[in-house]
Symmetry: C2
Subunit: 237 residues, 2 copies
DNA sequence: GTCTATATAACGATAGAC
DNA sequence: GTCTATCGTTATATAGAC
């Protein structure tokens, strides 16, 4: 196993809040009343950062729009020219990270790599993205239940989609004989659970001075150990 | 590996909501204004069940005391003779399952078993208890952040305590040579994450008709595969 | 574009009748 | 023990001045 490492990953994805908000603005142009891009992006960044910060402490429902107004340094009236209800703000926040996450996963997982290599790429991409956008990932997980039924369905679909990436990799590894025969669905499910633990319990890993690379290395080691065919790589390649 | 199985487990713990609420009443006698045990227990069961049901849908913060009054078939006034504030209700709910959980873990993990056996006992106990008290486990996880700082600290302590049970088992298995050398803290952490996934995403496993025994078998298989010393049991050293 | 001020609804909590 | 009625507070959302 050969890890890309967190720093190399960060350089290659070039994440910035401003770029993310500009993308967001371009997609949701009609819902936002502000006409000047520069103003809109600047305030969107402040709104999103503040909302994620407050929500991570006490949850989105318990955050009042007044709280948000204070934290983002914008008046009530100003806020309501970026969204028309608190519920809409919730859905804006949710959709924020989805686009960038999907793009990164598509970029970082190389279809012509071996299953074992793609497994490492996928695990690193998931973990490192969750490290970069930790507040969003936490929010996305904890607030899913507050979405409307329809949006909730989409959120579940999304979880199953990223899990499906792992299922696909495991299946193809089993076909080439690189991996031994396991239950691909359950394996992907518990792998996902491990990856999510990284951003769900930051207090745990921070307190133990475990870095995200340490964690990635451990998870990859465990999964490889579980999947590796003891008879060695039996074919194709 | 030899599993006890869910039904055998259920028989041996003899869980009942009424018993749990009676225990609770005996511990918190001074905070509850109702004098007749029978009435108090009956209503406590209704309050707790209703509160967990509503909270699991939209979270505790979003649940109004009026919602609770409707669902539990008790008036506002009646509710407030069982707790003196919504926040106190939150802490009552949190403490509910802790006692019974701790008792069960102590009963089910036999100190004179081998590390491998104790590992199976601990995993089964955790999973099966979370299946029996699923609404409470979900609540306990999702609402921890709404507790007061002091109570939050205790919640983290509790998480680390149950995780510590696994750490202890892994360490002793490494000492006897039954297990190979791994990072006990990280192993226990990801194991915990796997166990929690069972009650955090019921929609996933229910939809796939995976039973809790299936899940237990899979997790135990994976962890044993990870821990098992390839050289076999090399004795005490 | 952003502000202050306010309308309107819902909230948690309590007092007092039964 | 439980209910109904109601208090004071806080919430979301908007209107109109700047």
């Amino acid at each position: 196993m050969e890890l890309k490492g967190f720093n190399a990953f960060k350089d290659s994805v070039q994440f910035s809040s401003e770029q993310t908000c500009l993308d967001f603005l371009n997609v949701n142009r009609e819902q936002i009343r502000i006409k000047k891009d520069e103003t809109a992006v600047r305030n969107l960044v402040r709104i999103f950062d503040a909302a994620l910060a407050i929500s991570s402490g006490k949850g989105f429902q318990a955050m009042s729009v007044r709280d948000l107004s204070r934290e983002a340094n914008l008046s009530m009236g100003a806020l309501y020219s970026y969204f028309k209800s608190k519920e809409e703000l919730l859905e804006m926040l949710r959709s924020l990270g989805c686009r960038v996450l999907e793009r990164v996963l598509a970029d970082e997982i190389k279809p012509d790599s071996s299953p074992a290599e793609r497994l490492v790429q996928a695990i690193e991409a998931h973990l490192y993205m969750s490290e970069i956008m930790k507040p969003w990932f936490y929010f996305n997980y904890m607030e899913a239940k507050n979405l409307r039924k329809e949006e909730q369905r989409k959120a579940i679909e999304r979880e199953l989609y990223t899990e499906g990436i792992f299922v696909g990799i495991i299946r193809s590894g089993m076909e080439t004989g690189e991996f031994r025969t396991v239950d691909p669905l359950l394996t992907a499910a518990v792998l996902k659970a491990m990856l999510q633990d990284w951003y769900l319990k930051p207090w745990k890993y921070q307190g133990r001075t475990v870095t995200v690379e340490d964690y990635a290395g451990f998870v990859i080691g465990m999964v490889e150990h579980f999947l590796k065919n003891p008879e060695g790589q039996t074919a194709i390649r």
